[in-house]
């Protein structure tokens, strides 16, 4: 069966510090991978998605970036965090056609102080 891991679960960082959030998927190959940010009242904001190694689509211009160094690994990064980067970050993978169902990880709660 497939599982999706995210770490860390919680993170408190000062403004201006770097960020690296990691997501890994087990039990599937060549998944589509996604980073979302969930904020109260704003739903899930799609940040990045990837259809393969090294292939990243960016949806929201901001100081975040994403990388996919391996098939089942998706990393969210920032060189300098802003207060507005605080939020709950969710990674997801998608089971392909004909299912097209997304499965979500446990999330990372990021607080920027």
């Amino acid at each position: 069966s497939q599982t999706i891991h995210q770490w860390p679960a919680t993170l408190v960082q000062p403004v201006g510090s770097p960020l690296s959030l990691e997501c890994t998927v087990e039990g599937t190959s060549n998944p589509n991978l996604y980073w979302y940010r969930q904020a109260a009242g704003r739903g899930l904001q799609l940040l990045f998605y990837s259809v393969g190694i090294g292939q990243i689509s960016s949806e929201v211009p901001q100081n975040l970036s994403a990388s996919r160094p391996q098939d089942r690994q998706f990393i969210l990064s920032s060189k300098k965090l802003l207060l507005s980067d605080s939020g709950f970050y969710l990674c997801a993978w998608m089971r392909g056609t004909p299912y097209n169902e997304q499965f979500f990880g446990p999330g990372t709660r990021l607080t920027v102080l």
Binding site: N32, Y34, Y36, G41, R42, G43, L44, Q45, L46, Y49, V51, S57, E59, L90, A92, M94, T97, P98, N100, E101, Q102, F104, G105, P106, G107
Partner: protein, 112 residues
């Protein structure tokens, strides 16, 4: 760009009441549509989905949704809610092969 609107931010109902949550999307092409649910303390999970065919789709736990192409809508319904339906509900639209965007969510509170 595609957008998804959920106009009901917080809905409060009594048990056994009927439920309808609105979802509208902006994309004019062929779309795949989803409803996800997030119960307190749990991960998001798929409730139901529409790809093609019968516009009335049935999901888990007695939920159903109707795709109305002319109204760009995919409203979620349940004839009689239970306290256990307390959760946040998200509508999502798939644009193309991979891009999936979500609405802002509707928080549903059920009074016992």
């Amino acid at each position: 760009a595609q957008s998804v609107s959920q106009h009901n931010h917080h809905v409060i109902l009594s048990e056994a009441a009927s439920l309808e949550l609105g979802c509208n999307y902006s994309y004019g092409g062929t779309v795949n549509l989803f409803w996800y649910v997030q119960y307190p303390g749990q991960h998001l999970q798929l409730l139901l989905k529409y790809f093609s065919g019968d516009p009335l789709v049935k999901g888990i736990k007695g939920f159903e949704a109707e795709f109305i192409k002319s109204k760009f809508s995919f409203n979620l319904r349940k004839p009689s809610v239970q306290w256990s339906d307390t959760a946040e509900y998200f509508c999502a639209v798939q644009e193309g092969a991979s891009k999936i965007i979500f609405g802002s969510g509707t928080r549903l509170s059920i009074r016992p």
